[in-house]
């Protein structure tokens, strides 16, 4: 029966569903069996599309009503929700959108979906105590290379191909005042940290080398290894990177990106 409830079309015109309903359901004095089943099918779409509209206003704003409807109905019919938590409903939307060849501005839509879902993930992520600055100060100079910075579990790092954050703000604004939507932006690499501070969800744009280093740090690499990798990926020298470390660490700890520093014993 669950499969019928996820069918995207009215079950009244679905012969298989009608046969199932007549075999399994009683109907009532007022409704036929398939009409009873249709109540639940319709509700499946009403509830889940409403949830996705709420969670992905930027994606909806880019696509417009018709393409948005096509995308989310296709998504819901193809991928069953698996979590009890409706906030996780859109977890696979970006990946799904990436597979839809018909989507206009597909790469931009995918980036927007990733950005918007990151907000949902961060919103109710576990709380962490802020990093004690004294812990950073207590790291011996010769231990930094093997030190690991622990990221906040609510930190999400996004390397995107479009400036989705200002676009989303514009789309929400035009939705509010009913004016025409903004023009879609051309591609531009952006590196974002989405995180929570004082119960609010924020995003910061990072320099490419800072983003590369933070991404390696967030994977649990010791700082020495992380710096080597980040410098190589960003195409900068270790000296150039090293000159920025103090500023970055101060910013990261102040913003709550990192919540602890762990120094393992020298081998």
């Amino acid at each position: 029966m669950a499969a019928f409830l996820r069918r995207p079309r009215d079950l009244g015109t679905d012969e298989e569903a009608r046969r199932f309903a007549e075999t399994q359901l009683t109907g009532s004095a007022r409704l036929s069996p398939v009409e009873q089943l249709e109540i639940y099918r319709e509700q499946f779409y009403l509830r889940h599309t409403a949830s996705l509209v709420e969670d992905f206003p930027g994606v909806g704003g880019i696509l417009g009503q018709a393409d948005w409807d096509r995308l989310v109905w296709d998504f819901l019919a193809t991928r069953a929700p698996t979590s009890f938590d409706l906030a996780e409903l859109g977890a696979g939307l970006a990946d799904f959108a990436a597979t839809r060849d018909w989507l206009p501005a597909r790469d931009l839509v995918v980036d927007m979906a990733r950005f918007e879902y990151a907000h949902l993930e961060v919103f109710a992520a576990p709380d962490s105590a802020p990093l004690d600055p004294a812990k950073l100060g207590a790291v011996p100079a010769d231990a930094w290379e093997r030190a690991r910075l622990l990221p906040d579990s609510g930190l999400r790092l996004l390397a995107l191909g479009y400036p989705v954050a200002p676009l989303r703000a514009q789309l929400l604004e035009t939705r509010e005042d009913g004016s025409a939507g903004p023009p879609l932006p051309p591609p531009k690499p952006v590196f974002l940290a989405v995180h929570r501070r004082n119960l609010g969800v924020f995003h910061d744009e990072l320099e490419p080398d800072a983003f590369a280093l933070l991404a390696h740090v967030a994977r649990g690499e010791p700082l020495g290894v992380a710096c080597d990798s980040a410098a190589r990926e960003a195409g900068v020298s270790m000296e150039s990177l090293g000159a920025k470390l103090e500023r970055w660490f101060a910013e990261w700890s102040a913003r709550g990106y990192v919540v602890d520093v762990v120094v393992t014993a020298a081998s």
């Binding site: 359901l25 009683t26 009873q36 109540i39 929700p81 576990p126 119960l199």
Partner: protein, 324 residues
């Protein structure tokens, strides 16, 4: 088992804790007997939901109610879900925890709905076994609520009231009795709502839900977006005349009004409750034969549709993600 409410306390008349009311509830702290939270809204671990839960716990007596367990589904209840639920139970110190007689999905899919069950003997045993284990696992009294339904199965061999009574007895759990759902289900399936109320074992009822609904003519949807209807007030009194005082919750989950409207509904519930308990004390009833027949007639009537399409929700809107 003859002890009323399974020995659980009568907490009075409460309201559902819903996002649009957070600001005023936590700033003004109006007196409320208790608030009911939807467990799933607080099973994340941090951020605003946790913050607001802590404020609720500091201000009000909190009771937990769930919408996702799907105890009658083909899959066994999810262990990870139950562990998170148990953690929340520890945090809230809820005097009991409840969910619904329903299924929510199959094969790992979760449809986020309270889907109706076939009332079969096999399922009685399955749900009773699961309910007993769940109560043991959670370490707190467990109750299941009769859900509204919009379809019925040919395979059912029991009346709904027989089904829920049998499970409650076998599992030795409580019943969260939703009198609005009784009316909705009676209307949708041509049942007698009076017989429903009078057939549920009163000593098993640990909590009552009241809510509004939407009549579409062909069927009623349990929308929780209106005032409680008059026949449902009648069923409420009839229930209390059988049970004695039971914790009662006014639910309003869609088109959520100002607190004053909700509080006026709570006051109405208090008046109806007092009437019912007075009648019970004097060995009479607030519903004579004519009044009972009027309730039955309301469940048989076929009014003009007030809408053609309507969604339903449990627990009100989710808390919005704020971004600067």
């Amino acid at each position: 088992m003859n002890e009323a409410r399974r020995g659980l306390p009568d907490l009075g008349i409460g309201i559902g804790l819903r996002v649009p009311h957070y600001k005023r509830l936590f700033a003004e702290r109006p007196p409320i007997d208790f608030v009911e939270i939807i467990s799933e809204n607080f099973m994340g671990v941090g951020g605003k939901p946790r913050h607001h839960l802590e404020r609720a716990l500091a201000t009000y007596r909190v009771v937990q109610h769930g919408v996702s367990l799907g105890i009658g589904g083909p899959d066994e209840p999810d262990r990870a879900f139950l562990e998170r639920l148990r953690e929340l139970v520890r945090q809230t110190q809820t005097p009991w925890v409840s969910d619904h007689f329903c299924w929510c999905g199959a094969g790992g899919a979760h449809l986020h709905d309270l889907l109706p069950l076939p009332f079969t003997r096999n399922l009685v045993q399955t749900i009773a076994d699961r309910a007993r284990k769940i109560e043991d696992f959670l370490g707190v009294p467990f109750a299941l609520e009769n859900a509204s339904s919009y379809l019925a199965y040919r395979s059912s061999v029991l009346a709904e009231w027989e089904f829920i009574a049998e499970i409650a007895e076998r599992a030795d759990i409580g019943i969260l009795f939703d009198v609005n759902n009784v009316f909705v289900t009676a209307y949708n399936h041509g049942l007698d709502p009076i017989e429903f109320v009078e057939s549920v074992p009163p000593e098993r009822i640990v909590q009552i839900h009241l809510a509004g609904h939407t009549n579409l003519g062909t069927h009623i949807i349990d929308t929780h977006d209106h005032h409680v209807s008059e026949p449902v007030w009648d069923l409420y009194r009839l229930t209390l005349e059988r049970t004695g005082p039971v914790s009662t919750l006014v639910e309003w989950d869609d088109q959520i009004p100002e607190l004053e409207v909700l509080f006026s509904e709570v006051e109405r519930a208090r008046v109806e409750r007092d009437r019912a308990l007075a009648a019970r004390g004097s060995g009479t009833s607030t519903l004579d034969a004519g009044a009972r027949e009027a309730v039955r007639q309301a469940a048989r009537a076929w009014p003009e549709a007030v809408a053609t399409r309507h969604g339903w929700t449990q627990g009100g809107p989710r808390e919005p993600v704020t971004s600067p």
